[in-house]
Amino acid sequence: MAPADSPSPLLALTTGLARGENRAWEQFHREYGPGIFRHLLALARGDADLADEALQQTYLRISRHARACDSAPMFGRWLRLVAQSAISDVRRGRHNFWQLLRRYHEDASETEAPREDEDRLQTALDQALLNLSPEDRSLLEAKYFEGRAVREIGENLSLSRKAVESRLTRARAALRHEIQSLLRSS
């Protein structure tokens, strides 16, 4: 058991972020980065380049404003806010006035858009997984949802590690293509 005065993992992480410690930032990228990217991709409606640019901006804003924090819900909400503001600014930078105006016209309610976008991405992910071949789907589910190691999957399928990684790469490419098609058509 940890001593009573040792800081919580989140407090240690956020303190490290505020100090600019490489290890804290690597951990943050590993543990929180995928969630932020997913949120940004949903807001970007499948535009991975936009989501990437916004992710970079989000990290830079976090670097500017990070403070020690011990509340996971508060930290999570703050990250979402930072990500939303970053993608809005990146989008603003990319679009000219008229394009922006048209977009605001399309999105009558800016405050409700993020939830809708999240739902749209979730639906696209679920549908895209269903559209994959059963082999690809079971491979991705084993790796990502059952948390199995590549070596273990290889042993089950009597395949080498390299062959499993190659199949995973193909399955991910197919899934990405499906998700983007579904998001574009929605």
């Binding site: 100090r19 991705l140 899934l175």
Partner: protein
């Protein structure tokens, strides 16, 4: 660390759009942010140190300067400001004191006038 479904989906999505999430180009964003944070901290500390140094320099300037800059032409110093050394008189008393006595008015160059009264 045990992950929930949502976190695993996020990891899958991150891997779909990036060759290597932990070490690829996207991981460079985190390294860049860490560098920026360190630079900002150094700058903030330097500015704070400079501010403190400036404050100390200003304070020491005024403290060193204040004894020598004490006014030399004070009409009353604390030594002669005791009630035995001065007297408050009325206008009538003043007029009677200077009546029939020569008065010398001297300009001291600062548009001020000094009035000298000869001894009786």
């Amino acid at each position: 660390m045990k992950q929930n479904r949502s976190e695993r989906e996020a990891e899958l999505i991150a891997d779909l759009f990036h060759e290597s999430w932990d070490s690829g180009e996207v991981a460079g964003y985190a390294r860049k942010a860490a560098r920026r944070t360190r630079r900002r901290r150094i700058l903030r500390k330097s500015l704070a140190a400079a501010g403190i140094a400036l404050l100390l320099a200003t304070l020491s300037f005024f403290f060193v300067r204040s004894p020598s800059s004490a006014p030399t032409e004070q009409p009353f110093s604390s030594a002669n400001a005791s009630p035995e050394n001065y007297e408050v008189i009325s206008t009538d008393q003043l007029l009677s004191a200077i009546r029939d006595r020569p008065i010398l008015v001297v300009r001291n160059g600062k548009s001020e006038k000094v009035i000298l009264l000869s001894k009786n």
